[in-house]
Structure formats: structure tokens, C-alpha cells
């Protein structure tokens, strides 16, 4: 019997459920390793070599190297784990969130100050404003 996953029709949103968690286990655990300063230094010194210590898929490694958070999420990453990469790079949470929207940092910040992204037109895939 199919599981109840009513959240698949929300635009621009990936829910980190048990299925995504399974796919992203090693990617997210790599991110957790960056909570230690010594690991952050080793990662920064040679990113590829550090990533190769983890049994991640090549797609996951490429997404990390490109700092493409949308692709990281598609391959099982969760934003709270991925935030450790941003912290290693000295990025704020707003910079990380904005990087996934196709907007510039300034455009995203201005949108938030103006009240944020509207819910109208953003509830369902294919919905018209």
C-alpha cells in the first residue's frame, strides 16, 4: 500500500522524510563532521580528498563541491545538516536560503524586509497567481 505523502505537490519544497533520510545518510553525516574545527580545516585544505573519505554518491560529492544546495537536497540532504557547509564557508543562514531561490543576495534580503515570499501562487504545483 502506498504511504501517505500529501506534501509532494508543494512547489519548490522537498520534505526530509524517512526516504530522503535514507538517501542522504552519508551526505548528512559528512556535513555533521564539519562541526569539528579540525575537520573544517581538513575539508578546506582539500575538499575532494575529504569527500572521498565518505561513501557518498558522485552526484552528492559534485553537488557539495558546486555548493548547489538544491541538488544536495534532491540527493537526500537536509538544510540543517547542509548549513554546516555554509558555516564552514562563513555564510549566514539567509545567504544559504537565498542561494536556492535564483535571486541575488540583495534581492532576497529585500524580499524578506518587504514581508517575505507571498503564499499566493505558492501552495500547489502549477498554481496560477
Amino acid at each position: 500500500m502506498p504511504l501517505d505523502k500529501p506534501y509532494k505537490d508543494i512547489p519548490g519544497t522537498t520534505i526530509f522524510d524517512a526516504e530522503q533520510s535514507r538517501k542522504g545518510y552519508h551526505l548528512n553525516q559528512f556535513c555533521m563532521s564539519l562541526m569539528k574545527a579540525a575537520n573544517r580545516a581538513r575539508f578546506k585544505a582539500d575538499e575532494r580528498a575529504y569527500l572521498d573519505e565518505w561513501p557518498m554518491t558522485e552526484e552528492q560529492k559534485q553537488a557539495v563541491l558546486a555548493r548547489d544546495l538544491n541538488r544536495c537536497i534532491a540527493h537526500g540532504g537536509n538544510i540543517y545538516f547542509l548549513a554546516k557547509i555554509g558555516a564552514t564557508d562563513g555564510k549566514s543562514f539567509q545567504q544559504m536560503a537565498g542561494s536556492m531561490t535564483g535571486m541575488s543576495e540583495e534581492e532576497y534580503r529585500d524580499m524578506m524586509i518587504a514581508g517575505g515570499r507571498s503564499i499566493e501562487g505558492n501552495r500547489y504545483l502549477g498554481e496560477k497567481r
Binding site: P6, Y7, I10, P11, G12, T13, T14, I15, F16, D17, A18, S21, G24, Y25, N28, Q29, C31, M32, L34, M35, R40, L69, N70, I73, N78, I79, Y80, F81, A83, K84, G86, A87, T88, S92, F93, Q94, M96, A97, G98, M100, T101, G102, Y108, M111, M112, I113, G115, G116, R117, S118, I119, N122, R123, Y124
Partner: protein
């Protein structure tokens, strides 16, 4: 007998902690946030409890994907601020209340809520930012939080997360547990997280003021009805991280159903990516 005297609800945005720690709280952007907590700090000074039962969620700091408990109660004597990747927040360690925490764990588990008892755990911004907002920054010569805190971590990161209904009923079980504790402690329960926000994907930056306003209204006046709202409504209407709001229902469930005093209410957009909501509710004495 211990009793729950009041509840506090607040967002726990990490950038609020960073603004305080980096001395940016006077900037106009942040003043609009902190102005909403001026009354709260005065209120807290006059109403400092013996213990805070603080409901929050860990953000991949104490718990990795090795294991994530759905409900975790901190029974340790103390808890250190976590290094979330930017270094630990320069705030005091959190002193627990192991006796009351163990009592609550025992009672609530016997009431069919399967809590995980945790004796070693760092606490992240989800717990320390609400303390900073309500207590202010502790002075250097008295570097401590004003009272003990029992950390209560809820999984809202890895789906499925507990339902609003379950959270609300858990709050009732926590109240029963507190009221069966022999020592006459004044306990506050805090529910943190929310309000509308989404931190991931092309829909990041979502804010829904209508949803948030309605949530605050119903949390005060119709918590039982609000608790039946399904997850999908939170996610669709308030963003993927807006689901944190189920934690407010734990605190609300531990309060009287009605005849509450609304001591304070505040709402502001934005703090970083997030809508900031805040309530103080008092039980009649």
C-alpha cells in the same frame, strides 16, 4: 505541589542570537525585533520561575542521523551550548533540574508518551535564543541564567514528525506530571520555534502573515481545535520549517484550556528568513 504558572511562546531564529552576540541589537533592523521583547524581559524579572520546562527542537547539532528521538527530555545536571559550525554561542551553560525532569519522564512515559531520557546533550540556538530574548544577556560578573531549565527536544526535522494533536495531549500529560511533584515549585513551560518560514529550495523565504495571525488567535482561544490541524496545512501554508509550530501546542496543552490571561502578544516580519511570533499566557493564580 508544583504548578505551571505561565507559558511563553517565541520563535528561536539563530540570527537573533548572532545579532545579540555580535552587538548588533541596536541596529534598526534588529530593534524592530527586540522592541517586541522589552515588555517580556520586565515580565520575566517579576515572574522568574523556579524551573523552565523548555520545548524546542535540535537542528542537527545534538542529534545526527545516527539517531533522532521524537521526544527527548534532558535529565542531566547541566547542558553546554553547542558549536553549530560557527563556534558555540558565548552564553552561560544551562543548569538542569534532574529531580523534576526524572519525575516528569517517569510520569509521562507511564501516560503512554515514549520519551527518550537524555543524560548528555549540547543545546543549540533553539533553546538558548529564547533564553536570551526573555532573560537578556547575562552580566559578566554573574554569568548564569536566572533559573534551572529542563530541555525538551522534539523532532521536527525528519518526517514524519509528531502531530499537533499528540503534542497537545503530551502537554496535558506534562502538566499532570508537574502537579504530582511534591515540592512546591513554580514552573513555566515555553514552546518555541516558528512562525511561518521556509529555509530550503526555490520557495525559501515564504511568509504567511494570515496563517500566523490565525494560529496565534486559535492558540489562545481554541487550542483543542487548532491541535487537529494536519501537518500538510503547516507545510503548505507556513513553509517546510513552519512545522516547528506544533511545539507551541505542547506548551499550550500544559496550560488551562480557558480563563487565561494574555500578558503579551507580538508579531514581526522578518528576522532573517523568519516571521517572529511571541506570546505570554498566564494561568490564574
Amino acid at each position: 505541589m508544583a504548578r505551571i504558572s505561565a507559558s511563553v511562546y517565541t520563535s528561536h531564529v539563530p540570527a537573533i542570537g548572532a545579532a545579540l552576540d555580535l552587538g548588533k541589537s541596536g541596529e534598526p533592523y534588529w530593534q524592530k525585533v527586540f522592541a517586541g521583547y522589552e515588555y517580556s524581559k520586565e515580565w520575566f524579572k517579576k515572574n522568574t520561575p523556579d524551573v523552565i520546562f523548555l520545548v524546542y527542537n535540535d537542528h542537527a547539532n545534538a542529534f545526527s542521523l545516527e539517531m533522532i528521538p521524537t521526544f527527548a527530555i534532558g535529565c542531566a545536571a547541566e547542558f553546554m551550548p553547542a558549536d553549530e559550525g560557527w563556534g558555540p554561542r558565548p552564553v552561560p551553560k544551562v543548569i538542569g533540574h534532574p529531580e523534576l525532569a526524572a519525575h516528569i519522564a517517569h510520569s509521562v512515559i507511564q501516560d503512554d508518551f515514549d520519551l527518550t531520557i537524555v543524560n548528555k546533550m549540547d543545546v543549540d540556538h533553539g533553546l538558548t535564543v529564547p533564553l536570551s530574548l526573555m532573560c537578556g544577556q547575562p552580566a559578566a560578573d554573574k554569568f548564569a541564567w536566572p533559573c534551572p531549565v529542563i530541555p525538551f527536544a522534539v523532532n521536527v526535522v525528519q518526517y514524519p514528525v509528531p502531530s499537533g494533536r499528540r503534542c497537545y495531549n503530551l502537554g496535558k500529560a506534562i502538566r499532570k506530571a508537574v502537579e504530582s511533584y511534591d515540592e512546591p515549585l513554580n514552573v513555566q513551560i515555553w514552546g518555541t520555534g516558528g512562525m511561518s518560514h521556509q529555509l530550503q529550495g526555490p520557495r525559501a523565504g515564504l511568509i504567511n502573515k494570515v496563517f500566523d495571525t490565525n494560529f496565534l488567535d486559535r492558540l489562545i482561544a481554541d487550542p483543542a481545535g487548532l491541535s487537529t490541524m494536519p501537518h500538510i496545512d503547516y507545510v503548505r501554508e507556513a513553509g517546510s520549517e513552519g512545522i516547528e509550530l506544533v511545539m507551541w501546542l505542547i506548551a499550550r496543552g500544559a496550560m488551562n484550556d480557558n480563563l487565561l490571561k494574555v500578558a503579551h502578544r507580538f508579531y514581526h516580519v522578518p528576522a532573517s528568513n523568519t516571521a517572529v511570533g511571541h506570546l505570554i499566557l498566564e494561568n490564574p493564580s
